[in-house]
Amino acid sequence: MARFFQLPNFKRDDYQRPNQKWGCGRACDGKGCQFGPDAKGVCHTTGECRPARVGDRWTCTRPDTSGGPCASGPLPSGECCRQIGPCQPVLSLRARRGRWSWAAGGLTVAILLVLGGADRERWADPGPLSSAHALSNARCSDCHQAPPAGPGGPGAFAGGFAGAFSGGRHPTGVSCLKCHDMGEHPMEPHGLDRISLTRAENTVKPGAKGASHSIVLAMARIVSPSDASRECIVCHTEHHGRIGKVTAFSDKQCQVCHVAAFDSFSKGHPEFSNYPFDRRTRLVFDHAKHLGEHFSDKTVAALAPKSCDACHVASTSGGFMVVRSFEKTCAACHGTQIEGEGRAGDKGIAFLRIPGLDAATLDSKGHGVGEWPSDADGAITPFTRLLLSKDKAASQAMAALSGVDLTDLRGASDERLAAAQALAWSIKSLFADLVTSGQDAMIAKLGDIDPAAERGQLRAMTAQMPRDGLLSAQTAWFPSLFTEVANYRAGVMPVSKMAPAASAASPAAAPHSAVVPGDGDLLDDKSPVAAPAKPKAAGDDILGDDLAADAKPAPKPVAKAAGDDLLGDDATPAAKPTSKPAPKAAKDSGDDLIGDDAAPAPKVAAAAPAPTKKIEPLKVNDAEAWTPAGGWYRSADNPTLYYRPVGHADAFLTLWLSASAKLSSGPHGSVAEPLFLALSDAKGPGLCMKCHSVDRVSGGEKVVNWSAAGPHPTVHEITKFNHEAHFSLMDQKGCQTCHQMKAQSAYLTSFGDNLDPAHFESGFGPVVKASCAACHNDKVAGQSCQLCHSYHVGEVTAKISGTGQMKPLE
């Protein structure tokens, strides 16, 4: 049986006062005095009572509870007779706790002030940056703007806080964009402008099957602000350690903005409408037709590819199955076609042609055009028209002469004649420029027409046009072109006369023709005879050209005759020599001149005396046949300069096609369009358009797709797919596991006259979502949005800084 102390003597005990801060130091001995310490914790007790002075004596004031007034009473001094020294009051437990609290608070503040000092940023730093940004660990201001001016030292923290809500040092896009080039709309969703955004959103309609039932998502969509532009750091959170994921982005975060919210890829993601084809192929290649028809042809069966990777290979990113080079793929069958093999008509492209012109009528009617090759025939080439497009007179003339047959102007009105004359002179002038200044002239003219064009491109467009080729052409077509054009430009019109016809009969011409052999000598050393004959030209004699030019008049009749003969039968030159040796010689020499071979002439002349012995002279190949590898040549049967493509990806053709395509929508459309049509003719030389599609891009401009689709190093597609990663998953159907080839498709109808790439028929069916979802679900390969979609689309690059200061290292 224990004893209990729970019941004090309530009669005697005073209240217990746990509310008081200080307690009597003697309470623990059960001897607590009646006074107790004061609020400050000081004990004033000296005795059992504090005697009261009454008159001149002291009386005891001990209360009854402590026994009442004592017998002996206070000491004379006024002190209590029962002395008890003051105690050492004790602090109550609760008061002690209060002190601890104050101490803790004070300590905290102190620590903060210390930390708020020199390296306060190190303490405020919430953690290391991801390895990509690790260098900025020590340089907060890389991302956090300079702090608002505040007091230095420990006070700076407070100063900083003051600015916390006003300015603050939060990183803005500015900081990020110092290094990351995120395109024109970095803060907009996907880095796209609003127009493209709305379009993108509308592709997915709400309420679709499998729409999301997530409450969280519903709430998020309510609170999500309408203004969708965001600071970078909203998504890209940092300071989560070296391996912290800076680009983490949850599916729900995607779903909040998108019109139709769905649960996951496998549940609710819309079927692919025609993924991966968002446009027709750039190269026209009908897989079905090739695999179905062409390759079944015995003759080519051997060449047929055995598998898709014969033509396609995964890009390094794996995002594309790029088409292998032409040589590795199409060339086997189509290479020679491009060079023009087995092609009827010119294998070259008529670049410059002296059009047929009724020069006689013009002369007779006083609209002299000077020399004009009588064998000129055919129309002005589109090239010529384009080159003339800067020549006002020519343009007007051509406008006036539309629908007029230039070879017969007898019934033509004066204006037309004048126009014809002007046109003729423009052509001669253009030709003169090309002959005299050559490639430079062409570059200049093209430059005028398309100021945007790069010089390199222009140079390439000349396809290294040869100087001598043009000179010979000039000799053949306009022997006195330079004088005439010079006079024409000086305003002196030539006397109207059919020069060639007259010379044929004139005696003056005889000695000329007589001295034909001598002419050959003249080429070597200047003859005084010739000098008086053409005193004007003598000044220029230093140049061999001029000699040749002087020499020209002599052989003219022969040349003419020869030219005529040639019209008749080029195939049988053998018949001629006996009947007309001289002419033949002349012709030969004429030919030689074109061939730039003066040497044979004397020999032939020398050989002339012995006609009886029949020796087959050497024969120059026909010009077209002469240039199978492509390049410039002059047709023998009419005054035309041809260019023959050198094979696939011929620079001349591709450039002129691109240029004309581009120009056809510009001010020169009227002249560029015909040129483009001419060049892009499916049957035309090069057959480019057989495979290369033409798109009309925004602004009506036409663009020729020279290459198949391929990855762009700096462009992020909104959808990403790694082919290589999936090869191992394909079944025996191979690529057709996902890309199913349509047996019968209107694939080809996507091309031809249709220039809109977005309007097309694919040769393959779209990839079926189910085939992806088979693996891409939560259980197997995951299905987060970011697995297949990238957030930032378009040009996203990292800026290279410091190139400005590049200089050789010492």
């Binding site: 224990a2 623990c28 803790a104 919430p126 900083g160 969280v216 750091i233």
Partner: protein
């Protein structure tokens, strides 16, 4: 006069349900804000700090007992359930990973300590009282030293009496060798308020074992001594239990002060450097 103040525990279920709903709402809202790319850290942080302040107000209310501020018991319930919510909010705000920043580490440590001490306190204040009551004694903490002394003096008086009345030193020796030690003994700071301390059992057993040497008078005194030994045991139980009930607050409250200051600083720094984004 006002109807009798029966202070029932009003609908604890309601509190459970309410806080469960609140917790669910918090989790959902946090996820929603995060999905909506809104400054979720700012929201949760501000809410958490506000909640911590609200919880701290419990102490302020204790200083204003004269105002009609609803029952303290209601406040305590709010303090307890709100405390759990605060822990939840903390993890929503700071995540489950240990923070990297030094300031954040200190703050997290302080918060978790406060929460842990609070949980401990909750457990103690539900568990210890019944132990104290079971001991059969009911004392105010302030009276314990006084009574300890009283026990000592009474025991000494008995021993002296024994010495005089029965000329034997048995009890005297017992006092010197065992009783004195036990009477002066104080239980350790973290002793638990149940079971007999070994020293107590030892003292009792040694007293019992002396029984064979006692004469009648000594036996009487011995039985009285026994009562005092029991009383001392009860006293120690009271001391231990009540001390436990007060000790945990020495961690909980001072750290709360630090928490409030650190929390403010953290908030300002965060807003200052990130605008809460």
């Amino acid at each position: 006069m006002d109807k009798p103040l029966i202070n029932q525990r009003r609908h604890p279920a309601a509190w459970w349900i309410a806080s469960a709903c609140a917790a669910a709402l918090l989790v959902a809202a946090e996820a929603a804000l995060r999905a909506a790319l809104l400054p979720v850290a700012l929201w949760t942080g501000t809410l958490l700090y506000a909640l911590v302040l609200a919880l701290a107000l419990f102490n302020a209310r204790k200083k204003l007992p004269f105002l009609p501020l609803t029952r303290a018991s209601t406040w305590l319930r709010f303090h307890v359930y709100g405390g759990w919510l605060a822990v939840l909010l903390f993890f929503l705000h700071a995540g489950t990973a240990w923070p990297d920043g030094r300031l954040n580490q200190i703050l997290a440590a302080v918060f978790l300590l406060v929460a842990a001490s609070g949980a401990l306190g909750l457990f103690l204040s539900r568990w210890v009282p019944s132990k104290l009551t079971a001991s059969g004694e009911a004392l105010t903490y302030e009276r314990i030293p006084e009574i300890r002394r009283q026990i000592r003096t009474s025991v000494e008086a008995l021993i002296v009496a024994a010495d005089h009345e029965s000329d034997s030193s048995t009890l005297g020796d017992f006092y010197v060798n065992h009783l004195l030690v036990y009477v002066n003994w104080r239980p350790g700071l973290f002793a638990l308020p149940f079971g007999d301390p070994p020293l107590h059992r030892k003292t009792i057993s040694s007293l019992v074992s002396l029984n064979r040497y006692f004469n009648a008078r000594e036996r009487e005194i011995a039985s009285e001594l026994r009562e005092w030994i029991e009383a001392k045991r009860n006293l120690d139980t009271q001391l231990v239990g009540q001390r436990l009930l007060k000790l945990w607050l020495f961690v909980h409250i001072p750290l709360s002060c630090s928490l409030i200051i650190l929390g403010l600083v953290h908030g300002l720094v965060a807003v200052h450097f990130t605008r809460g984004l």
